[in-house]
Symmetry: D5
């Protein structure tokens, strides 16, 4: 999956992952984090710690110098920008469709349960689970974000 514009280090990380037939689940376990979070590092959407960079280079068998230069202490991700909006890829598009169709209903329920505010996308976790089902397995995504109330001043 090398389609979005990746830096040369990111491309190398994906290639090493493919050659070693590693899943993000395995990489996440090694790094001590969720597999979605692990994938976010590969896509340049999360800032790895120095320890994570070191461990990643061991797992992928890549010299640390490359990762440190691109993703080291000084690096703070410029997030997003991986896909056009709306995305043309059907797997990605369905996420957007869910928001276009059910976004206002979700907003309404959040306000009824919590009041005026938002669900944080920063103090945030996401998880993907496979639920087996004889009628067809199901993807269960959990999005878990802190509620942030608007303040008066």
């Amino acid at each position: 999956m090398t389609d979005p514009k990746l830096s040369s280090v990111q491309t190398r990380m994906f290639q090493a992952k493919a050659q070693r037939k590693l899943s993000f689940e395995q990489i996440g376990k090694e790094l001590g984090c969720n597999e979605v979070y692990a994938a976010s590092i590969f896509y340049g959407q999360a800032k790895p710690t120095e320890a994570e960079i070191k461990r990643l280079c061991e797992i992928l068998n890549i010299p640390t110098s490359h990762l440190v230069e691109e993703m080291g202490e000084h690096f703070y991700p410029s997030r997003g920008g991986l896909m056009p909006m709306p995305p043309t890829d059907p797997t990605l598009y369905r996420f957007i469709e869910m928001i276009q169709v059910f976004g206002y209903p979700l907003k309404a329920i959040i306000h009824e349960k919590f009041g005026d505010g938002i669900m944080s996308a920063i103090d945030f976790k996401a998880d993907v689970e496979k639920v087996e089902d004889p009628k067809g397995d199901r993807v269960k995504i959990t999005l878990d974000g802190k509620f942030l109330p608007y303040k008066k001043w």
Copy 2:
């Protein structure tokens, strides 16, 4: 919450809901459905059954003729279109931000767990839960969709 362009019947439904101080949770219980689904009917994003229309009119104390004329048997929603893309409202925007930042990681995990295909936005359920937390309550959204594999032909 009357901001997205609503039809006159939808506006009336929201006004009746406000006057009777009903929550979508209460309305969902009366209709025998999830509160997100109930809100979807109000926003014209789901097709109510005849029984649901009848029950809704009782709950809201609105004559059935209006709802039947706009949302009756012949009605099939033209979904989406409630918000600009990206939406300017912060509560809605955060959903899009989650996809822009974590969309490719989520796609990667889905493919690793299920293979080539998508998570359905049609054979789909969404749920909002309030998780109390001393550091600040959390919004937990569960998205549950059937996995649909691409087929060769």
Copy 3:
């Protein structure tokens, strides 16, 4: 200033404010809030409390029923959408220009001072001050938002 699309109640609020020659500074004092916050209520960008609605109606000499119906307990703002992006109005455009030119430098400084994360636009205050200066008075805007660090999971 009636240019952005306002609801009929909002238009009435602006007309009453003009007739009574009230400034947002005066209105903010009456409501016990900052003048920027007071203006935000008029533009439908903040949710007034019941007490604020009551006080507003007294100040503006408007019957409360109108404001309660549109901005009452059930109302949660659909924020933004008041201007095209980028805005054509020069006063508004300069704000955007500041971000287009100095946005990346500001992001860099925030990361150097706080680490990986964002400045909240929800747990947020804004203030406008007039600084007299013989070479030409200056507008001093203070933006004050909580730092929210990205979390690992």
Copy 4:
């Protein structure tokens, strides 16, 4: 932070800064300017003087010829263009969200305090301050621009 499209000289400046573990605060002090202004030079958003170029090359240990060729006397920045609009990066996006939500209120207050005109983005200063707070540290940004009144002719 090398994400926006930078010229080869700018990339080199960022790399030297990272290797020497210099902050913009340190660089600003050396150049005798605010850290935001210093960062603006790195992002090609400000025109450095000859003295600043010389000093920068000393600090970063880069030959002056490169900077003079790209940023010398003949150079006048083509400002902006570093980010898509609206930006996808959450740290940058929040700045835009502040304007989308509070832009009209800010415009209203400026007019009430100063009359018809704009806050200059040219005769302009920006400053970032870290305000420690037990509930979470706060980012305080000060924007300070000359008021420019519209003239009749």
Copy 5:
């Protein structure tokens, strides 16, 4: 020329001007201002003084109450937005074409003559002159704006 979306008061002003066969040159003379400025008031792009409103109502034979309500003391224009960008009207489009083709050359000359900065569109005057020419009369537009230098801080 009633094509851009005008308020009902503006429409009335244009109708009165047409019925009385007044030119903006005549109106400008009466108001003591340039004809371009006079037209700007009609298009809602300039803030008239109270004296100008009074005089305008006399010239156009319109009751002052209407103009005062829409363009009085409390009114600050939300400028721009009269045309799509780029405009489809050929007379308007040519102005944009001049900038698209000669904009960078003009920017280069301004920097060579003045240094780093901009030509103000606020402290600004525009004038249209008809220059008779046997090969075809010529339109001579003069744009006169204060140079604003970028400041270091």
Copy 6:
């Protein structure tokens, strides 16, 4: 000022101009044309004659073969496209703002003085003048284009 996408020959022309510390005013004098026109040749917005190419190469000390190959007899500019629309650079943006705000008033005055038609951007001249002023020097731009009346057929 090398920001807009330039061909390798154009880049070389700008570099030679910078090294020799030539202004467009000087180059224009050598070529026997206005400085804005001279700059237009550098930006690929005007077609130089063979004599101009020859003279340019002498002034800039560049072999003629390069310019002839890219800008010779066969070359007809594909004009525009140097900037996004609207441009993000403040010096360029102000030109667009002048049109967005005063474009309809200018159109109105042109029609009142000349009738139905346009001001040509082809049979056209532009000039920049520096007007010294103790309150701040002023940029005076003169746009001079033939009036072209619409014809009936």
Copy 7:
């Protein structure tokens, strides 16, 4: 053909034309102009003379006061804006497709035959002819515009 947004007078003109079963060919003959030009008046794309307005009202049996008020002496068309770009209507889209596919070839031929310049869309005529052909009749459109050479200054 009432789809593009027409003013109430234009709608009335189209209705009268339909009721009287008049073609633009007939109307053009009555007005002494080409049928394309006649249609342009109906679509608000050309400025009718006073004599044309008078004659039009006779042909369509409409009181002149309406046309004079909207299209009289003071009226100068804001041209274009009748269709989205690109247009969705297939008859209109094909015109755009012709330009997208053959536009650069046409530009090349114009330059080879005339030099650097444009084909005027102002000093311009268009004509539609039906050419009968046993293999299928053909539409022959002739576009005839003055060549305008770019000038040096």
Copy 8:
């Protein structure tokens, strides 16, 4: 005229054409086709036959292998995409302006003469003629396309 993005073979074709000082008129004669059609092959907008490729290579003195590899039997043009829409180049833009202003009138006349349907852009010819005129030479473009009626089914 090498501005639109051309493949390396196309660039070579244009360079050979320039070096040999060949016009499209001459090339068309050699190929036995209209000059507009000949130019279309250069811009990748038409599929040359094997005989045309051979003849082209003789005329331009280019080895056939290059053209065959890029434009051979297997090649079917992906047409359009040479210009932004609307194009910024004035010569190209005027074509679009003609459609924006006179497109609906042309559509109306086509329907009146032919009924419901379109003018084909596939079974289509275009021709450019220079008409000398003492008031200024004129460009006469003829567009000739088959009428295709909509069918009922």
Copy 9:
């Protein structure tokens, strides 16, 4: 299904269809045409004959005067424009997704089977069939258009 912007006559046609519980299949049979074609008339995408208008009015029990006035002899559809592009409605979006994903493969096969040209969308028929299937019924859409070869000239 009244979501896309319909004229008042079209709205009335849909209401009559709903009240009489008529399907497009039944209406198509009455009109002697395919059900997709019948629906196209309701959506203003096809031009009905006078006989069809008469028959439609009988079926729907609507006075013919309304339909004749809007869809009579003089009426030629301005097609398209019913949906945003891309459409937000999932049923419509899937059609677009099919083209985005399989459009180039389909183009390739058409060229391999037919040569250089297009599949007409004018000399065109579409048909929808329900294919029962124990694993889930299938929608089978047949698109049948004349091949139109590009012509040399």
Copy 10:
């Protein structure tokens, strides 16, 4: 047909296909799949199995290592993105035009035959057939997708 942006491996596949004068029909037969599906693999729109990769390399005489590296086990297509939307190529555009014109009618018929839901673009097949016809051969495209009903929850 190498116009859409292809990876170096895809370009090599198309070149090998052209050199060996293979059609997608032949390739599909070898791979045991429909020719449209075979083309989809070339355009990166389908995930080939390991067996298909092996067989493809034999047919095209390309070393498997290249295909395995880009399209191997770890590869999941990022679909779409091959064309701008709307596409400028006439063959592709006609597909979009069919949806813009007949999309709502098709949606209406699907709902009447199947109820509320969509036609899947995932559990989906497409087929192209050449139907010979003395009046002009016809392209017959069959789209066959599973109906997916919306579910209540």
